[in-house]
Symmetry: C2
Subunit: 242 residues, 2 copies
């Protein structure tokens, strides 16, 4: 799938998703009109990401946020009970979307080799489309409450587990070699994360998501694919390095 296609699907999906998700933290929001919440909460989230990703969530003052959102301090505080809750709400929001989309797409594929490819692609596309959130989520995990930190770690390990299982399944069917799949999955995760953690670097070097995705897949396959399958790929010219 091309990134542009993904983007279209994502925007539809997000809209639908927001309608359901809005009410998850509804009790924490004092404002009654749904239309106001929908409009302003998104602005608040976006502004939080912009400011925090520049100087960190702790360093962002509520006055900074108030200025950026163009709402007074008083008005701001009717959309969340405290700064800490704002953080929790924002983390939670992104996590739900991510999980939901990642699962949906991987389950479309049948065989392990395709699942792996799709997993890498979708994760990269998702983190490209929501780069500010992904970066934020990574950098601010420390500032969460203990309970929320546990959730964040679970979510992190969950993504890894998906890849681990794909590799395991592939070993059984003979497409993938016998390896330490847990370790491999962790390293795949690290390579995926580099894309949103060092976004500035890749932008500067004019590397597109699609290029990066292809490159990652070729690295993983060089290491994991069993020799016969690798040979097939080579003949078909599918190594995607040029």
């Amino acid at each position: 799938m091309k990134y542009s296609e993904f983007l279209k699907i994502l925007s539809d999906y997000k809209e639908e998703f927001n309608k359901e998700n809005l009410f998850e933290n509804r009790d924490k929001i004092r404002v009654k009109k749904d239309s106001s919440v929908a409009k302003n909460l998104e602005r608040i989230f976006d502004a939080t990401l912009v400011i925090s990703n520049k100087k960190g969530f702790q360093a962002m003052t509520m006055r900074d946020l108030s200025r950026e959102v163009e709402l007074s301090m008083g008005a701001l505080y009717s959309y969340f009970p405290s700064k800490e809750d704002l953080l929790t709400m924002l983390q939670h929001h992104g996590r739900s979307i991510t999980k939901s989309i990642l699962e949906k797409y991987i389950n479309l594929e049948k065989n392990p080799a395709d699942k792996l490819k799709t997993g890498v692609n979708i994760h990269l596309y998702l983190s490209e489309a929501m780069q500010p959130w992904f970066y934020f989520s990574y950098m601010e995990a420390r500032n969460l409450s203990e309970q929320e930190q546990t959730r964040a770690i679970e979510s992190e390990l969950y993504t890894e587990k998906i890849f681990e299982e794909i590799l395991q399944e592939g070993e059984k069917t003979g497409v993938f070699l016998v390896r330490n799949h847990q370790l491999t999955a962790g390293i795949i995760k690290a390579m995926l994360q580099d894309w949103y953690l060092k976004r500035w670097k890749y932008a500067k070097r004019n590397i597109s998501v699609e290029q990066y995705a292809k490159y990652l897949i070729s690295i993983i396959e060089a290491f994991c694919l069993s020799p016969e399958d690798a040979k097939m790929k080579k003949i078909r010219g599918e190594n995607g390095l040029h």
Copy 2:
């Protein structure tokens, strides 16, 4: 080289290094006696790393630090002019050591394949021995002044460049395949960084630095090594996966 050997060499090196390096920021320190500076500055740095890595440098208050170091606020401030300067001094300190050691070891090797191996090994060993500093340096880069941020980025790209050049050299001599070496180097860096960024995870899974190093090298070689060299390795049983 084993990690234990590396540790021994490092501690000697560090001592020698500290003597020279102490005087780099000497003008910023109001305390006159060198012995006091040597003793307390290290305690201050260590404590800063402990607290900051738990909750972030911004969130660490000077009262927190004062408590941990067991020095009063007044005494603390005679070792650095401001909180911001403390950050700069600490970042600078670690960077100097890192650069100096990394270069020293890689230059010992002659051929690209060994350089690559040594580069990966030493970087991992170094980041293992100084994990708190590496983590800190990564997470707090945003809080640096613009000038210091530039320096941090340069330092980051410098390490990458080392690997890029090794790969290029290897391509010429025929041990490595034709690839996008800049991209590969970036991904190698990402895999190296995962070791100190997710230290808790690898500790929990009982993965040692040596194991991780071997695994990374085998991944990189699977992707980069030209077929003849790869075959040689396989025969000699050097893939290090068991």
